[in-house]
Symmetry: none
Subunit: 223 residues, 2 copies
Amino acid sequence: MFQILLVEDDKKIREGIEDFFKTKSDIELHIAKDGDQGMNMLYENSFDLVLLDIMLPGVDGFTLCRELRRQSDAPIIFLTARGREEDILYGYDLGCDDYIVKPFSLATLYAKVNALLNRSKGMVLGKEIKVGAISMNPRTMQVMANEKEIELAPKEYVILKILMENKKMVVSRDTLIVRIWGYDYDGDERILDNHMKKLRKALGEGGKQIRTVFGKGYKMVDE
Amino acid sequence: MFQILLVEDDKKIREGIEDFFKTKSDIELHIAKDGDQGMNMLYENSFDLVLLDIMLPGVDGFTLCRELRRQSDAPIIFLTARGREEDILYGYDLGCDDYIVKPFSLATLYAKVNALLNRSKGMVLGKEIKVGAISMNPRTMQVMANEKEIELAPKEYVILKILMENKKMVVSRDTLIVRIWGYDYDGDERILDNHMKKLRKALGEGGKQIRTVFGKGYKMVDE
DNA sequence: ACTACACATTAAGAAATTATGAAATGCTTC
DNA sequence: GAAGCATTTCATAATTTCTTAATGTGTAGT
């Protein structure tokens, strides 16, 4: 069951979408009638996908999108009458996944929503990520290992997050260093080993889920 | 550097896209002028994203899409003059990620391509190479033999990859040595035998799929 | 069966890579 | 500014992989 948020002030469009999605059993639609309400709902819940109007009372859609992207990678689709190319490109710059110009067909919207849900499956942040006995809630930055809550230092947390987002995949040392310390990092390469050691220790038994792939990097496994 | 395949018969559009993407350093565009050529390229390489025209000489775009989906999760964007809703919905049913109706803006196309590359990063499983009971995922560097995951040392992995990429073909010892140690390698020739031995052992029963061709080299067979 | 050559196996040391521990530095918070 | 924590550096240890070299086994041609 996917949780979708629709932020739209136009009653007709809102109800049209609502009625249509009611017939789709795999989707649960949540509705915000203006930007402020949308913002609150984003903070309080986590969604698998967000449909955003741009011109809204209160906070506008672009701002909502920017705010959402700071905490989540959930797919975002703009639904708007503003079809000028600059608007479209601006939307994509903010990190949206699709931009639909009104008027549009509900069936097409549904197809696009499905394509994106499919594509982003398991990637959505703001939602709990789980790998074996370790789980992480990126929203609250809470990490659990074997039912126990774990306290992690910021760097440890980031490393774990990257590994968990890429579970079963080898993440190279370079990738990790670049993503954590930036392209221009020129300090000691061994720094990663140290954080890795502390992370493993902090995870206790769960630390064994982080595997070293000699000559390549690290990867996270289910057990 | 993302590898993108464009299948388009209309010369004007093709060259327009080609010129535009030439200016984008993160993207390498590969071009097929008709469906048959596109099909061949799909079989021979793995792409990070595919742009497909629908009406094509030879195999049509829908068929290409269907075929591609059988072996890869790479994002697919249809570029077509067919803007009827039934066509669009049919495209999404086949598993495409976006459907752009001609004429379109190159900047918008680029924005959509980027959004999708971003979204699919790390998810696109690349083409899984499979030879008999052994399969390899070059992206995750995961190797499976008889349903079991295999841990390989770096050199072993490279050797296996070369053999699998050339399945059923004999790869000479010289080719292997040059590709792995470079043209100027002047160490012991027996080094290859050693890694080969370890590779075979690591693959267990599957090691038998690597055949020695006396006086020629090695080859990988289905069983 | 003999020979010459090609490949396989084994073991041990070299080289490369990662892990660890301790100390130094930096950053917040009170 | 001192305490407490996080981060970084550095030296050393441990581990894994690579290479060499010696010896054994297999193959093809005569």
